[in-house]
Symmetry: D2
């Protein structure tokens, strides 16, 4: 029955999909589906000579993993990966790195309750309209499972950045109306101390309670992640279309469920005066810095050496238990009810994804910047 | 004296700049400086057969033009453009369109007061660090003058979109703390009725007064622009990295002074429940739509046929009259004072730029989507 | 010992490698090494809805396979592939297709006789200079094993082209001085009738004898492959840099051991008069064609509907048994002797590779051409 | 009448054209038509700090100029160019360089004799099929006039290469059956000593006589250009799809009238044994070189430090005076006669074009190679 539905659409509306590549010099291509053989990534442009820390990649995947705590989905996923190419005796050779995670269980579950209905605020409807088919088993390429491939590529990017002393750290800064107190100083080392990944213990506890309550109701809640890049070299980015924060913005907005991005002062800049917002320069021991950092470490699209900081807004997960109005593929009114295991709030598991996408952008632009010196041509 | 400064840096720190191209199939490359011969744009991929409306391009440039009202900079710029290629008997031929605006007055003004100092929150410092030189005459490629080239390319994109019945309209929705009342219905036809480009007359009046006050003080103020795309075809965009709102986000964040971008519910989604935020489907006369539009017309990175709407946050212009703390190129403390003519608030003139960048993204993705049908291959 | 050599270079000269992606809309990325886990390919942009013919892919790989006859290398390679993503119930879904061939035997052979020497006319020397290391086990990415990934991607491209009635056929037209008689009409159906893949039986027999003789001496010989594309749609390609034959030329020259490419009349055009070379038009039953086809089916970079035909020159394989003068990594004179199993002539196995690369180019440009119609935008 | 023809097609068959960009880091986009306002080029990625030699650009254009001698077309073209952006006080700033050559005479000549006919072996037919229109005034983007933009961009690339001591020199090595004697040593400094650009005076004289005879008959003749790149750094290029000779091949095949490309031994390799063809290494004073250079300076797609040399085959120019069979746009038989001024042989004027395209490829890959060192990331 289901395959009839599928073939019906295949006959009339067959398309391809692209947009699976990200980056210019450190360039990744992801592939695979949540309910196929598995998912993977090819990294073209990773420098040779990196002693790959496989344990680090694995631990990064653990931060994204379903079932890691009581406030995330209890779904099980395999996180064991195989490195298919690009490493010899533990060291990257410069050739494309291909890494694959095999799905544990490829049996199709019973999806008949949603196969012909469009779930509100999921990609079902748009996917069907664009491609003439949808993978009713789990969202196909729209599945959050794809982000595991990003985390692998991001983990390796972080390892390269570590050799340059660049650090990328994200944390949960808001869930629903629960925000970090403005007066506290954030200790980025405390993010992993709790299951919600908020570096302020008291706030974290409130967030966990809120998410637990929401979960019991079968509902979901939005959240915000903040990210800090420390020790980013001065001068990366570009002045016109490829501004560094424009690239970061695209990277973040490409993560499932993201609705907004702001750099430095962000939307609060709308209400500020220039005399407040301008970051006055100072010189301390011959080192130039700015007294404030409303610019978020980027001016004119180019990094200025201050911390790069930005916020990312996530909507509440679209899968909820209560019945919702919808339509089926024939355009008839129907209702959709959620089943099974979903995340009540996406932000705890999205922290390593935000870090990964940031690391990809920063490393790529460091590499791009190294290609632009005429003096290097002469050396 | 100034050229010594320039040459000094040229000797040690010579780079190139890229990132002057935007788009995939409707692809633009901008060039030129505010104080050189002029600025221009090459459009590669504009469909042939378009009867070019030159008056429309000119009127779009007028909306961006300095000196258009009392609340914008009184600087004078030439807006007369010459079409160098790609049009025959008034119709686009499909070959690259090159369009050039010659600068009226290329004499260098006296910039000695800032030539060796870094203006706070301008691109001076980062530009110098990246390229080893800066165009002290007016910001070089960081100058807002570059956006005139975007407006030309965007105007032509709008003309193509018009043949598809797609409309792109932006307006000023906030200046400082002055916002549009929530209860009003916005009439997009009223945007051009006032000099601040806010479609609600009473709110517009308050904004104009605020900007006028700020201007007298030599200070500046931030603002917000909202944009609506009507009749966008269903199914454009892509599910992974090239999500439609990610592309729109990059486009907006590439505009000078933009600090934030949000699609649909945006940052307000952080506080919402899934049961509130989900856009229930309905079917009216066989046409599928959603009861609400928190998704902002895009689900899973792909347009769903509802209006696409997004907000863009602009910081206050960095040039202000009062003295500010800064450093010079030798790292010594100094102060910088503003001079001359600057915009007290950037949003009135930025409305056509937001529309242009949106039109470029939407048209490009409509074109990309047309290349992905296997059935088309057979036709 | 060997790893010391490797690490020595890693410390001083660590690079990355790119250039592993080919194509614009039908875009492939290959990965893997001859002596690692295996080799693979990701195809981004394959149209959905194609009923994948797995047997056809396998049979194409058999045409490239070592050990297939007495005149090719007797090395054994695994050709079993696994489809990792992009196919559901035997039909392409439009998502990235990832396909992997696992290497049978990953044990490093004894390469000590060449590990520190540069084999003449191999990539050893340039690879070491560029990347600071080389994969002495079998050439790394320079290995001909990489072309299996191209054949897989090309086989699928051919399957898409088949639905459009486009045929791509190559054959061996010269080995050493043995050429096809000028007077014969080539029957493309006879190419697979013999082990050298020459469609003229008598000539094939001579070629086989020559290659067998050369093989006994431990020497190698060059050859030429000709390719014909039938039923290519009129109008694909582009008039300036992306001329269709320029894209075909790059594709062919990217195959290992290729030294030359010519389209239509090719190098013989140098000696011709315009009055001889021009292809006069004729009209038969309202269908326009040309009386001759010195243009090779492409005029001004754009296909004209006639058969596209081109020749590709292959040098003799660089691995030979007799001792050759060389240097080691320290710059000392030495000699290199060949060992083991190599191809005495590369062209019999290169026929499917030429076809694959041609199919990739033709399909990509058919897809690109479908994206450029303004009328399509309106439909 | 003519515009009706044009509009007729515009209504039914409107396309765009792309493929006007070449290069990755030193990236050029050309625009303009032979009978429009003019032609131009935007160079994105030219390093800053180059003291631009405007006289050199002009002298390069003179080498390509029509009317330069008795054996080329006597058509007049303007070669005066204007630098629109990217240069300040004579030095490149790193911003996009835009350069424009205004056409002297934009009046449409009388083209009624060919406007509705397809000239054999021109791009008329394919252009019309692809774009639904053609620029009957002079070929539009297919016109050789476009190559002036390439020569400008190539001249600047040569100036950058000169600072790296890399030299690019091409010369005419064959016209019809007249070839350079094999025994001579070519003195690249003598190429400009005669109007055919052959560095061997006696051979040059024969070529000039042959071309003069052909010209009298209103016919045309093919030719061959050889190119040598001296002092190319070792290690540029890539091992898989972006092999250095594959990039050179595409560049050359993108030049109008080119039918073939060969690197090093080229098509002669087909007849050679591996024991003949292999380039044995030798070490002289610690410097590694090869005794022969059949590889043409490139092994495995990567430069090896020897001279890069390649040949390019040009067909006879398609415009001839005698009547030729053809069809008109309605498919009726007709004849076409040539008129006016055309080149009897294209190679004398194509020498600087070959050099320019080679310089673009070599510089681009030098720049790409500089971006791939992990050590550079750490510096």
């Amino acid at each position: 029955m289901l395959s009839n539905f599928l073939l019906l659409h295949l006959d009339y509306n067959i398309h391809n999909m692209a947009g699976n590549t990200f980056g210019t010099l450190y360039k990744i291509t992801t592939f695979g589906e949540s309910h196929g053989k598995g998912i993977g990534v090819v990294i073209d442009g990773c420098p040779s000579g990196l002693k790959l820390d496989v344990d680090h990649i694995f631990s990064e995947l653990q931060r994204r993993k379903p079932g890691q705590s009581k406030i995330v989905t209890q779904r099980h996923e395999n996180e064991e990966f195989e490195i298919l190419s690009g490493v010899f005796e533990g060291i990257t050779t410069g050739t494309p790195l291909a890494i694959f995670i095999r799905n544990q269980d490829q049996r199709s579950k019973d999806y008949s309750h949603i196969a012909k209905k469009f779930r509100p605020s999921h990609a079902d409807y748009t996917y069907t309209q664009k491609y003439g088919l949808r993978d009713y088993r789990g969202g196909g390429r729209s599945s959050a499972r794809e982000t595991a491939a990003r985390v692998i590529a991001g983990a390796i990017a972080k390892q390269v950045l570590k050799t340059l002393n660049v650090k990328v750290n994200a944390f949960v800064s808001q869930v629903g109306t629960i925000t970090l107190p403005e007066e506290i100083t954030i200790d980025l080392n405390k993010t992993e101390d709790n299951i919600v990944r908020c570096p302020h213990p008291q706030t974290a506890e409130k967030m966990i309670q809120l998410i637990s309550q929401i979960k019991k109701k079968g509902d979901t809640i939005g959240g915000k992640i903040s990210c800090v890049v420390e020790n980013c070299p001065v001068g990366i980015g570009a002045p016109v279309f490829d501004k560094l924060h424009a690239e970061l913005g695209k990277a973040m907005l490409s993560i499932n469920a993201v609705k907004g991005f702001e750099i430095g002062s962000g939307f609060s800049a709308v209400q500020m005066l220039g005399s407040e917002h301008n970051d006055a320069f100072e010189s301390i021991d011959g080192k130039v810095s700015t007294k404030t950092n409303y610019s978020g470490g980027i001016q004119g699209g180019i990094s200025n050496g201050m911390n790069i900081n930005f916020n990312v807004a996530f909507k509440p997960v679209a899968t909820i238990i209560p019945a919702q109005d919808s339509v089926d593929e024939a355009g008839n009114k129907t209702t959709v009810e959620g089943r099974g295991r979903h995340d009540p709030c996406v932000v705890p598991r999205a922290v390593p994804i935000v870090e990964s996408m940031a690391a990809l952008v920063i490393l790529d632009h460091i590499m791009i910047n190294k290609s632009t010196k005429l003096d290097d041509l002469k050396s």
